[in-house]
């Protein structure tokens, strides 16, 4: 029985760093609001990665110094950002053409659930009194060449967010390529969930039990 409380789960920053490490030099990337935003802080030195912001910016830079905020220069979360040399501004239809036309290499999104066929649920809990809001999530989910998800492996009450089929309303069908959680990295392949990394101290069998879904072991050296 795994001692879940004392597991060396990845921090949010650890997860962000792991996602960032997988983004190649020269990639065009959109980081969704929330957890994925952290990825920007860990982009590896020596790689030039161009960040896209849905509200009309390619070449997004880090947050400005305090006092230098320009409220006409914000990201998808409406926080002030900067523009790097080489940046370009454009209008919303052009910005979403970049997504929907398949020009982005990678987008990173948060999620409530990901299914074994790569369905994504991240916009709506389905709760009756919730105010639904979708923003650009559905466009990003289906538009980028690869959609990565970053999320905790389990909900607060211990339910796996990797599921055979999403119970929450879908954001997109068969769109997720890979999931980064605080416990593992899991690819979505034609055969289903394939684990490529597990944190130290957690076995594949324990991960499979916690996840409650069929997992395949795709770690290098596994058979």
């Amino acid at each position: 029985m795994v001692d879940f409380q004392n597991l060396a789960k990845m921090s949010r920053d650890d997860m962000a760093a792991r996602v960032a490490a997988d983004i190649p030099d020269g990639a065009y990337v959109n980081l969704g609001i929330g957890l994925p935003t952290l990825v920007a802080n860990f982009l590896p030195a020596g790689r030039e990665i161009v960040l896209h912001s849905e509200n009309g910016l390619l070449g997004m830079g880090p947050a400005p110094a305090k006092g230098d905020e320009d409220w006409d220069l914000t990201n998808a979360g409406k926080q002030p950002v900067t523009a790097l040399p080489g940046a370009a501004y454009f209008h919303h239809a052009d910005s979403f053409a970049m997504m929907r036309g398949g020009h982005l290499d990678i987008c990173v999104l948060g999620a409530y659930q990901v299914s074994s066929t790569g369905d994504l649920a991240n916009w709506h809990t389905g709760a009756a009194d919730a105010i639904p809001a979708v923003g650009g999530a559905m466009d990003l989910a289906i538009g980028a060449k690869k959609t990565f998800v970053m999320m905790e492996h389990l909900t607060r009450d211990g339910q796996s967010k990797l599921v055979p089929e999403c119970s929450y309303p879908l954001t997109g069908k068969a769109c997720v390529a890979r999931v980064y959680t605080d416990l593992a990295v899991v690819d979505i392949r034609p055969e289903g969930f394939v684990v490529t990394h597990i944190i130290p101290g957690l076995s594949f069998e324990e991960l499979a039990r916690i996840s409650g879904v069929t997992l395949r072991d795709g770690r290098i050296g596994s058979t």
Partner: protein, 224 residues
Amino acid sequence: MINKICASAEAAVADIRDGSTILVGGFGNAGMPFDLIDALIAQGARDLVIVSNNAGNAETGLGKLLKEGRVRKVVCSFPRQVDSYVFDGLYRAGKIELELVPQGNLSERMRAAGAGIGAFFCPTGVGTLLAGKRETRVIDGRTYVLEYPIKGDFAFIKALKGDRWGNLIYRKTARNFGPVMAMAAAITIAEVDEVVDLGALDPETIITPGIFVHRVVPVAPGMD
């Protein structure tokens, strides 16, 4: 002579009738045409349909228009904001209609209206609640959903500079929906920080050509 410059925001919105559909630019507060919205609040038109990315922040701009009970329906992608309590209350009380549209569909549907497209097969939203009962079609092995244009009776947008022909340039990401909404409305009203002489804008860098703009209202920059 062409002179699209209006003396005031009040004059620019004077002919808006009850029941109009108004496209309102901005992404959060960036690019939000606050002066035009304030003029519309003072003007009194009711039963409005507002198409905008968000549904107002706190009690300014769209939030104020909503609070005054003047909006029948909001068409937007992201109503829920940390300070969208006016919309949230109206929605929970069943006092306002919401058409939730993915952000890319919102912009593409307005572009379609501006470009004369009757409808288009769209990759976003397929298999989701937001596709509803829309027609779908498989093209080259991929499923698409049929989406229709969104046209405005009016568009309210915010730009940095404009001239008397209605040519506009914007500032940074405050550009956002402005150029698309300008195309999609019967009457487009732009509030600008500065009116410049005809010919002062470089023809290479004009973002919205004047053909899409009907009224230009100078407003005090940074007064929002």
